[in-house]
């Protein structure tokens, strides 16, 4: 879509674009280029000079069992965040769409976690699950389940999962609710007249019609789990115990800023960029299809 009528001016459009482009070049293209350049170089032990090593950093990366482990952790983590988060939010959205009285109130009370900073979310759940003072941890201990996410890798994963999902439910809920409200009532009424019960109507009509929303949310949630959960992990487990909750973004940070291994950290950045590009392309292809549909 293009405008038929436009203004004619030689320099003004460039002036208008200048601020955005300046920031984009200085803070996006320069650093991204630098990451790519650095990813092909290796520093000496004193960090005084570096030399060109080609693909060596990447080859090292994919031979490094710690990195591969981090990949696995990220996959498990993001899959669980997306699947559990979507299932819970869909359930709540279907119920909220059903109730007549109090629907607006439920909505208001369910959406506010979106506004809470991931770091604060992390602190809240850390507190609830803290072995020494946490309310939930104490309850679990009393119930005969020794709880200490600082020692047990599985429990640490549960902790970051709960925090990450809790934060994302409101977002998913809003989009599912909007999707449900967009489904034509006539379809559901027709099915009801034909004798289909609520469960049958959901699985044969509502769920398939909702699939564009579900797919969109799936991609958004995976991106969220990959990148936006950094703060949750840094405030709760710091990637530990060991590296059991160190997702890829966390590892870029800890290798680059704590381990000071710039070449490897840059190579990891480049791998992450590739992942974002792929996810974004998938998302846009889907949106193109939705427009035609």
């Amino acid at each position: 879509m293009e405008k038929r009528v436009v203004f004619g001016h030689r320099t003004l459009p460039y002036l208008l674009l200048a601020p955005q482009l300046a920031i984009t070049v200085v803070f996006f293209f320069l650093p991204a280029g630098q990451a790519m350049w650095q990813s092909t170089r290796m520093e000496d032990v004193f960090g005084l000079s570096s030399e060109f090593v080609g693909w060596a950093n990447f080859a090292d990366l994919f031979r490094d069992s710690v990195y591969l482990q981090s990949f696995r952790v990220t996959l498990v983590f993001s899959t669980l965040v997306a699947v559990i988060g979507l299932a819970v939010s869909l359930l709540l959205a279907v119920m909220a769409e059903r109730v007549v009285r109090g629907a607006a109130l439920y909505k208001t009370l369910l959406i506010w976690p979106y506004a809470v900073a991931p770091a604060v979310v992390g602190v809240l759940w850390l507190f609830l699950f803290s072995p020494a003072v946490g309310v939930l941890a104490t309850a679990l201990n009393r119930a005969g389940l020794p709880w200490n996410p600082r020692l047990d890798a599985g429990q640490a994963m549960v902790l970051v999962l709960v925090a990450a999902i809790w934060k994302q439910i409101s977002y998913n809920f809003l989009f599912f609710l909007a999707g449900l409200q967009a489904i034509p009532r006539s379809l559901i009424e027709a099915a009801a007249i034909d004798g289909a019960g609520p469960a049958r109507r959901f699985w044969t009509i509502v769920f398939p019609l909702l699939s564009p929303t579900t797919f969109f949310l799936l991609v958004v949630n995976i991106i969220y789990a990959f990148f936006d959960t950094f703060a949750v992990i840094d405030t709760t487990t710091q990637g530990g115990p060991g590296t059991s909750t160190a997702i890829l973004v966390y590892k870029v940070y800890s290798d680059g800023f704590r381990g000071l291994n710039l070449g490897s950290s840059a190579a990891q950045s480049v791998v992450l960029m590739t992942i974002v590009v792929v996810l974004t392309v998938v998302q846009f292809r889907y949106i193109d299809r939705k427009v035609q549909y």
Partner: protein
């Protein structure tokens, strides 16, 4: 309502109430902990009824901070830093995106599509994937521990530019024709016609970007080393870094409540704009 199924309605309410309880539980415990003394909170399990130290804890957090970890900065100062950061990011994004969307939609000039794609590509480079090199650029520019360093790298936004481009494309061409007949230049048209028309889009975007700015964590974590430049989400993390024995959980929880308050208020008070912003910016 398709059909009457009272038991199903009951079930729906039950599930929703359960959902609300799960969502609200952490908030409630946080509030309760923020009204007790440090000793009461540490006394596992803590009481789940509000204590009597509400005013005392909040006053202490706001004006003195927690001495427990390494941080002794008053939370009031941190909230100020967060507020400046959130406003600068939100308003900065809106301003530069409005201008560049205006340029891309209402002018024809060499390189138009090239610049458009340049902005588009930034969508694929979230700050998390380019932290180390961006940090280097900012430190070379001498912007560590400054508001400019905190906000500038987060201001460029493909999403906002798209949103405004999308909106400008729906503005009827008759308006620009009328403006030109009346002798208005491009900037006059922008200011007197386009800006007033974009009001709702701007408000919606502001809500989303304010929350985005307020909640930034990784970037401030890297570039702020002075305590008086910590946004509140960083400050709260510093308070707990000393471990369980020295953490004053009551002050930490009061700080958490304070850190949540502005963005949650914005969402609840501007709910309509918030939902519009969320849906629009994902299109």
């Amino acid at each position: 309502m398709i059909e009457r199924r009272p038991w199903l309605d009951m079930l729906a309410h039950a599930i929703l109430l359960l959902g609300l309880a799960v969502v609200a539980f952490p908030l409630y415990v946080t509030f309760v902990a923020s009204t007790q003394t440090a000793r009461e909170v540490a006394d596992a399990p803590m009481s789940l009824l509000p204590g009597s130290h509400f005013v005392e804890n909040y006053v202490r957090a706001l004006f003195a901070g927690s001495g427990g970890g390494s941080s002794g900065t008053p939370v009031g100062r941190m909230m100020w830093v967060s507020l400046v950061m959130a406003l600068a990011i939100a308003l900065g994004k809106i301003a530069i995106s409005l201008l560049s969307a205006f340029a891309v939609v209402y002018f024809r000039f060499p390189g138009r599509m090239f610049f458009f794609w340049m902005i588009f590509v930034t969508l694929m480079l979230p700050v998390e994937v380019r932290i180390a090199p961006t940090y280097k650029v900012v430190s070379d520019l001498g912007l560590l521990n400054s508001y400019a360093g905190l906000t500038l790298p987060l201001i460029a936004s493909a999403t906002a530019t798209f949103l405004f481009r999308q909106f400008f494309l729906t503005v009827p061409d008759e308006l620009i024709e009328a403006a030109r007949i009346d002798g208005a230049g491009p900037m006059r048209f922008f200011r007197d016609v386009l800006l007033p028309l974009s009001r709702t889009s701007i408000a919606a975007l502001f809500v989303i970007q304010f929350i985005y700015g307020w909640n930034q964590y990784l970037w401030p974590l890297l570039i702020t080393t002075q305590e008086d430049m910590y946004p509140v989400v960083i400050g709260i993390k510093r308070m707990i870094s000393g471990g369980d024995s020295v953490t004053e959980w009551n002050i930490v929880m009061a700080t958490a409540m304070l850190a949540m308050l502005p963005p949650v208020l914005v969402v609840i008070l501007m709910q309509k704009q918030f939902v519009k912003g969320l849906v629009d910016s994902e299109k």
